[in-house]
Amino acid sequence: MLSRFSDVLQTAADVLAPPATRLEDFEYHWKMILNFYERFDDNCKIHIEDTKIPHHLHQMLQLIVDEEKEQQGGTVGPCLEAIVQRSICLLDALTALAAADRPPGARSLALTAATALLRRTKQPCVNSVHIYRPLQRMLVQCNESPASPTEKEEVELLLTLCGLVRKEPGLANIFTTPFVEDKTSLLTVPEDIQKLIPLKKVHTPRKNPLFVDLTQNQLPNVSIIRTYDRDDSSNGAESLADDVSCKSQKTLYDENDKFLLIDLLLSYLDSADNQVVLRACEGIMIVSSLPEEDIANLVTSCSPACETIVDKLAARYRRIPPTVDPNDVDQLNITWAYVAQDFGDKSYSKFHGYRELTTFFSWLDYCDTLMKECHQSIASHLSRTFRQNFLEGTAEAGVTDLRLAVLATAVLSKCLKVVDSTDLINEFSNWLVGDGEVAEWPLLHTLISNCLSDNYDLALETLRFFESIIEKGTEHSMERLVLSRVGTRGYCREPGGGGAAAGGGVPAAGGDDTDRDRLNDLPLWRERETNREAMKQLQHEEHVSEQINDILSHEGLDLGGHAGAAENIHTIVNSYLLLLPRALLSDPVGSDYEHYIHDAHRHYQYWLDITSTFDWPVGLTGNDNTASSTHSYDSRPEADIHIHDAYYNNNNNSEQNLDKQHNTKKETKRYENDEFDEGPFLRMLFKLLSNMPYQPYQVNLHLTSIISKLALLPHPFLHEYLLNPTLPVAKSTPTLFKTMQELAKKLTTEIPRIKHYKKVVESTRLQLMSEDPSYDEVGEHNQLVESLIVLEEFCKELAAIAFVKYQHSLHAHG
């Protein structure tokens, strides 16, 4: 508006008299401002917008912008030069106006004008003392009250300065204490300016972090040496200015130093205005994303940025009402950057606790995004702080407090699900499963016992949590949860007499057969002669076999070069698909099987990608031949020997690994004397699995989902332990397949006792497959039958996974 008006004036003036030079114009507007203050009555209540001051300021700004367009080769025009030389002390004047806020509205105007000068000009010469000094004063003097009416303008100025620092990192020095330590001078208005703009003196800011007394608790000096050395010849202003841009100068910072820019931004994070908070967040992210190591050190060592950010997260977590429905938590999809605007919308509340949850998760998203974008050392520091101050200091209590555990687990599980930055995922996982060599980790034990709780809501949320933990799988969490035990292969009873994990007595020779007989010893087999289902069962088995053959040949895996392997995979797939007798199956045709194979392909590829960087033993190393390399995933007992050898051969290849080999051998030896212990996590899963008939459907669903995820993992030992039903193990060693057989036995005995059980099975299946959400709320469920259907589908899923992994190993090596 003003610009158009002034254009008209300008045109009119040009007609009457020859145009003055730009500098003359500039001086004219400056004098008009000074004249105003010379005659200014301090009691005057007129708002600054009703005076001519905004017009004159705007004109001066416009003149600087205009002259810059005409400047060649980065030189500075006469108007800006007048400011740099301080022959026209515009910025000092603005600071005086901002400090005194006279007439009313002057502070806002001064802040906006300074921001505009910095944003509109390509080269604002901030490294000149007569530019940065007043800016420092302005920052220091304006940041005095948390809910100041000009906080929007203040934070815009800060953000603008962040932008300048982002482009010219050397400028950061202007906002650190070595350069702003002269507090008295910063808090006063220079004398010449006091004469020009005779306004009342300002008072000392109360909340400004710069003025915190540092004389107490002196900390040892930790030096951060600025070794910034950049050749930048484009800045012509340097020759004019007192150069403090420190481009090739070393500056020492110690822990008592402050990074004013960040500290000031942090003070705006508590604003009630979401837009102000957003701006402060942006400023912090812009500075933190600088690649300069020393700036990152300034942020972590000279400012409480990481601590403040995490404390805010913890505060927001604590504000979540304990009465929130845990089921609502999972629906949220929050982006930090959009929340500020969404919160302006009054109708923005979907359920009880929505705003609190949104506030929390948006801040989590900010932390996560910041960690992805910022310098690595800030990310490490921030994620460590996240673990200490949020996870351990705030969230952990909720998981162990049974009254709060369901909601706390739901929130944490969602947290883990949404975070994406590597540092955060690692700290999160380490907190959950413990780090170092700690054998017992209290939190993990709490979570595991929560899964076994009678409170199925808690069990369900905790299982979901474990699902997230596995999905976000870090090498460490996998190791702690499952691999530390399985990795020794202690479950495996070596054929040929070692009797490694024999436990209660060495079985007789030919124990394999005995075992297999026992495993296949389902009541149905005995009843076959008399049961009229027998014929159908046989037909069913033939049908399944044919189907598998079809799939095998369709995938080009018929009994060609890998006859033995193909036969093995056939046996394995059969073990799963024929676990339940046909009479009980709700969907005997197995139409979903192809679908499961398709899913397993997709998921397996996902896990191969995720674990590609893990230091896991692969099936076999390069010096082994192709034929045997398929064995790792066809799960033959004799193939296992190859894996075993390969593992050690692999280790022998590198000297670095010798220690590890040694350790592994020692471990193996230790376990040889004991019964195999699958560890608390797998024990819990097996226990829940055998308990399926007495648990709610949702619990069983998540349980089997966790197990199938584990089965998908491309770790050869975990693979054979979970997916090889023919693996020779000691009687006392629990396996997935044994547990499933026990369960199948239980269901086979109990379900036929239900009246019209076939109809019940059929209708339950229909209901479950319809995915009607109201079904869960209906009181009467036949959990027994539901668990049958879960098991039936689970069998198909495992068969598909075993098949896909086998197939992949053929493709990978063949």
């Binding site: 942006e282 949220l332 509340s349 705003r355």
Partner: protein, 214 residues
């Protein structure tokens, strides 16, 4: 004001291609030759009508400079549409489109509608990128294309509204899950079902009400 849907947009592209000017022209119907450098993002909103329905567009104008890319990336996720802008008088802004597109595709949801905009069509004499080249790029990458002038307002309305139309069509086809906020679409108050109790009572509406546009 009541609306049937709310769409979230972002404007992306190199610095100086006229992103802020496009937004200002669309929301305020004016052109401002001197513009402050955008740091972080600026926000604008306007109501439009499609198919007789009121649709509120919330538009985030992002910083084009590489230095502020970390902020821009935060806005990809959760946007329903994006205007990808280049300057027809500066070839390099056209050459950078691939990078922008990759960045956008990587960080946004896969259904995001992207409209390619060749801005400054009023500066025909200084044109460096032919209209056909813009069309070809759009075709190759499955984008909608249009040349605009934020100065003369040519095609500016169309650019924003056509993007909205495409999002609207996708909603009708069921491509967007409108209940998932991560898609950048919100159903207006009169459309939402089952939220009646919470909405009117304003259980948690005590927060600061900022950005009171529309």
């Amino acid at each position: 004001m009541a609306y049937a849907y709310l769409f979230k947009y972002i404007i992306i592209g190199d610095t100086g291609v006229g992103k802020s000017c496009l937004l200002l022209q669309f929301t305020d119907k004016r052109f401002q030759p001197v513009h402050d450098l955008t740091i972080g993002v600026e926000f604008g909103a306007r109501m439009i009508t499609i198919d007789g329905k009121q649709i509120k567009l919330q538009i985030w104008d992002t910083a084009g400079q590489e230095a502020f890319r970390s902020i821009t990336r935060s806005y990809y996720r959760g946007a329903a549409g994006a205007l990808l802008v280049y300057d027809i008088t500066r070839r390099e802004t056209f050459n950078h489109l691939t990078t922008w597109l990759e960045d956008a595709r990587q960080h946004s949801n896969s259904n995001m509608v992207i409209m390619l905009i060749g801005n400054k069509s009023d500066l025909e004499s200084r044109r460096e990128v032919k209209k056909e080249e813009g069309e070809a790029f759009a075709r190759e990458h499955g984008l909608v294309f249009m040349e605009t002038s934020a100065k003369t307002a040519a095609n500016v309305e169309e650019a924003f509204i056509n993007t909205a139309k495409e999002i609207y069509e996708k909603i009708q086809e069921g491509v967007f899950d409108i209940n998932n906020e991560a898609n950048g679409i919100k159903i207006g108050p009169q459309h939402s079902t089952g939220a009646g109790a919470g909405g009117a009572g304003g259980a948690g509406a005590g927060g600061a009400s900022s950005g009171g546009c529309c």
